[in-house]
Symmetry: C2
Subunit: 211 residues, 2 copies
């Protein structure tokens, strides 16, 4: 996934000569705390946040150029950069928005923290039962009941806390991938647990085939 | 994970009688676009964004109570709610911040979109090679080379594009979980691929043991 696939195209360009008062109204209307400032070729030349606007309104500044941050202070991503780069910039710098530029330094979109949250939370919010269904589809000839029985065994062994196949099934029906990761102590442990389950059902299937 | 474990405690309370001008300076200084408004018991009574502040400065409003959103317009999470709830609120409503309250409706923290991005991106940014290491640890007696050979076979079969064990290893050394998920078309498919690999190496191990 590239930055351009993650970006929000619903943003507003500002120009250096725009009025601080007018810009404040526009930003309220479109509900954006940050806006890029561009030149006549739509190339990025500065950056405005609501903090610049409140300061400018108090101090009676007239033009955006008087209150904006300069180009060199703005972190950007190229439209063809991996989306991950915008995610890392946002996470490390606590950004609300990262502007996306093309090879001509023209601003073509903005990656917003809330859009990243939406994207990542889709992943995080997948039901664990869906992963089990994928596992069952993959492991031909293994029934859902066998999968739950093996999972209950592995869980009992790992946690030291006895759980039945039915209880295990009820748990995964209600829990998401994200919750399962916190509960097991990380992605690697979660995967290791699933692999143990796979190992157990495969061993049983092989056992059956031999008889 | 609960909301209180994800929240930012570094925020500022506002009171209804605070001056709009003074609050604007505080918000610039602490760099927060949103602030909760509380009563004398620190209970949430309203909400201020930078948009309220810019409007208030333009209109010459004096007090926060004149420009704030009312309590009923603010979405909150309880400190003991699952962190996921704050994530869902942020994703669905494009929020920058969600206030966290205790059972007495006192504001005790704020969940920020950028903090969620940081949390979720740690998950997203795990190296695929780490998952393979966890798999190898789990599957006793399977070598790294066997795992790569099986993965190359499964990949060739799934994608129809021939890949050697060495090429496969080079790929996973450089790619992250997030990238792998985009590349395979979703968590379930990624996971089904790992299970196939596990199935193949287990079948080979069982074959060896029988001889």
């Amino acid at each position: 996934m590239r930055a351009k696939e993650l970006m929000d195209k619903d943003f507003v360009y500002l120009n250096c000569d725009d009025s601080v008062v007018e810009v404040s109204k526009v930003m309220e209307e479109i509900r954006r705390f940050t806006c890029p400032v561009v030149n006549e070729n739509k190339q990025l030349v500065g950056w405005i946040t609501s903090f610049d606007i409140t300061r400018g309104l108090r101090n009676g500044n007239e033009k955006i150029s008087e209150i904006m941050s300069g180009y060199e202070e703005v972190a950007t991503v190229n439209e063809n950069d991996p989306a991950r780069l915008a995610v890392i910039l946002t996470a490390n710098n606590k950004f609300v928005t990262v502007p996306v530029v093309n090879d001509n330094n023209q601003v073509i979109g903005m990656v917003r923290a809330c859009d990243i949250v939406e994207l990542l939370s889709e992943l995080y919010d997948i039901k664990v039962s869906k992963l089990y269904k994928a596992m069952q589809n993959q492991l031909k000839g293994v029934t859902w009941e066998e999968l739950m029985a093996a999972s209950a065994l592995v869980s009992t062994k790992t946690t030291g806390k006895k759980i039945t196949a039915e209880e295990y099934e009820a748990n995964i029906m209600n829990s998401t991938f994200g919750e399962a990761i916190w509960a097991t102590g990380g992605l690697e442990k979660f995967f290791a647990g699933l692999i143990s389950v796979g190992e157990l059902v495969i061993a049983r299937r092989v056992g059956r085939a031999r008889r």
